[in-house]
Symmetry: C2
Subunit: 202 residues, 2 copies
């Protein structure tokens, strides 16, 4: 098994944190996406959409998409559990995972892609859209702060994949001046709790 | 149990098709999102983000996000199976579900939201971003056509949640002049197969 990754990109980081939380060691192959290594024919043959992360099993089977990779390892090794035990818990964690992805990560990611100079000339940018994403992200941090008044973690009493997506999404916002506000005490408390786990460095 | 929905919006349709495929009858409450009914206090108390669909269980528990609702019913009633049996199959279906969501539905949805007159004044639009989504969607239909040369359904030999997301995403493209091209025979064959199932009218 090999995980194709990039050290700074948010989606590979989600998969690496997930694996670290489960204490599953998988060899990581870092592809230089800024040099377009993921678009070389040998890698496009494995993942035609050209993104990272993707997982290659020993028989050559490919699993792309970070959450699908997480799902695979969750099913193979359910504990420590990150995606739920019962039908209701699984659905609720998936709801929070998706909210973190759609409301936080998609907005900090949209802002980064459409406003950061690193993408100029590589990717068509619509800066006005990036600024809209920034406004959405800031509003959603405000909402998340209020949600976290009632519980320690995003999906409830324990750490789950929803916290991983939120952490990665919020960290991606740093380069776009999207940050936890000084009055957002619940969010700051949650961030300290989650970012200080050893997995956050994976 | 009640499913809060809208007859035309793509995400509630995903949940309704999923339930129809499993032959699970759930009372549907249609909210008039164009009149802002989903943003009335009684509904915001149930789903603070104001979207549809969301599911209300008999004890008042809410599950929002269409795929989380699908997950709940899949776990409660695994057959007919739409999200996979083994860890590998579950991961691969999730990969295809997410690809259909990110590459097709997010692009036809982005085009619709940012270019359709129905949203003017309700939602800040960035038409240039909408046009980029349209180009992305057309490119991804080309890619999906090539993928479907080797198998009957999006994720393999059988109908899954990935087909539901692809159908809903492609149908949403109609109002933005995003359509299956005359040369895309595999995609046309797949569309006929999937759109003619009784569930497509749910």
């Amino acid at each position: 098994v090999k995980l194709y990754s990039h050290p700074l990109a948010p989606n590979p980081r989600r998969a690496r944190i997930f694996l670290a939380e489960k204490d599953i060691g998988v060899p990581v192959v870092q592809l230089d996406i800024f040099k377009g290594e993921n678009r070389e024919p040998a890698y496009l043959a494995k993942n035609p959409l050209g993104g990272v992360p993707f997982l290659e099993l020993d028989d050559g089977t490919i699993i792309a998409e970070s959450v699908a990779i997480c799902r695979f390892f969750e099913e193979m090794q359910p504990e420590p559990n990150l995606m739920g035990h019962t039908p209701l818990e699984r659905a609720q964690i998936e709801m929070w995972q998706r909210r973190m992805e759609l409301q936080i990560l998609a907005n900090t990611g949209g802002c980064f892609r459409h406003t950061n100079a690193i993408f100029a000339g590589r990717f068509p940018q619509v800066p006005e859209y990036g600024r809209m994403c920034r406004e959405n992200a800031l509003r959603m941090l405000e909402w998340l702060d209020a949600e976290l008044a009632s519980r320690p973690f995003v999906a409830g009493a324990r750490y789950t994949i929803a916290d991983i997506t939120a952490l990665v999404g919020i960290d991606l916002g740093r380069s776009s001046e999207i940050a936890i506000g000084p009055a957002q005490k619940n969010l700051a408390r949650w961030y300290e709790l989650v970012a200080s786990r050893p997995s956050a460095k994976a």
